[in-house]
Chain length 142, copies 2
Amino acid sequence: MKIAISDSQLTEMMHRAGVRPSVQRVAILSYVANSGRHPTADEIYSDLAAHYPTLSRTTVYNTLHTLADAGLLRELEIESGNMHYDLAPQPLHSHFICRKCGRIFDMTMPEGLSSAATPGFTIDSVDLYFKGCCPDCLNSDH
Amino acid sequence: MKIAISDSQLTEMMHRAGVRPSVQRVAILSYVANSGRHPTADEIYSDLAAHYPTLSRTTVYNTLHTLADAGLLRELEIESGNMHYDLAPQPLHSHFICRKCGRIFDMTMPEGLSSAATPGFTIDSVDLYFKGCCPDCLNSDH
DNA sequence: TAAGAATATTGTAATCATTACAAAGTTATG
DNA sequence: CATAACTTTGTAATGATTACAATATTCTTA
C-alpha cells in the first residue's frame, strides 16, 4: 500500500485533535488513511494483526470511536451491518457502494445540500450515499 | 394511530407489485405506512404482537425484506445497528435523525443529486441523511 | 528519576439485531 | 379434492459490536 499520508502527519493531526498518538492509534488511522478503501473494523483488525500480533479487536473498536469522536475519521453507514471508515479531514464527498462487488467509491458532493433541511433543525453532518453497479461489474456482466 | 392509507389501498399496491397480501404482510405494511414514524423491525414486531399474538419476529423480518424487494418499502440505514423502514411510493425525500431523541424526520430532497456520481456508474438508489438536533430537543436543552 | 494518577490496551464474555433452517400451516391450481 | 407452491412460525445460530475488569503504558510532578 502506497503511503500517501505519513505517520508524522497523522501524529500531528492527532495532537491537534487532542488524541494521544499511541502506536496502535497511529497504525489504525494510517491504515484507514492509506488503504485506498473504506475498511470495516474487522478488515482493519485482520490486516493489522499480522504486523501487531498483540493487537486486540477491542482496541480497534475503541480507537475507531475515539478517532471518530475527535473528528479524524468519518463513519459510513452505507452497508447495513458493517460500519465503514473514511479519513475525515479531506474535501467533503459522497459515497457510492456497488451492490455487486461491495466496493465503496468516492463521488463528489453537491453544494448547498443543507438547504434541504427544514428550518429549525441544527445539522451537524450530511451523508449522501449512492447504490448501484460500478463500471467494472457492469463490464464483467453483460 | 390515524389511518391515512387503508388496507385495501395497500392490498392493491401489493397486488400490483406481485406480493401476495397475507394478513401479516398487510398488517406490517400498514403499520409502516401509518405509524407516522420510521419504525425498526423490533418496534413493528412489539406493537403488532399485541394484535396478532401468533406473529413471529421472523415473519416481520421476512416480510420487510419481501416488501423492500418489491419496492413497497424503503430501508433507511440512518442509525447504525438498526434498520428503519419507510413507505417507498411517496415523493422522494431525505431524512434527518436527531442525535438526542433518535427520532427520524422527513426532509425535502434536492433535485439532480445523481449528477454528483461519476460517469460510468449505474445508480439505482440515492439516500441523503442529515444528523443533528431537532427543534424539540434544542428547546428542552438551553 | 521514581511514585502515583490517568489513560490505553487486551482478552473474555455478553449483547442484540438479524439470519438460517426445518416443521407446520395456508393458499392456489388443476 | 389433491398436490404443489408459498407463507408463517419457533428455535437455534451468526456475527458485529460492546461491557468489563485486569494489565500495561504514559504522563505528571515532586
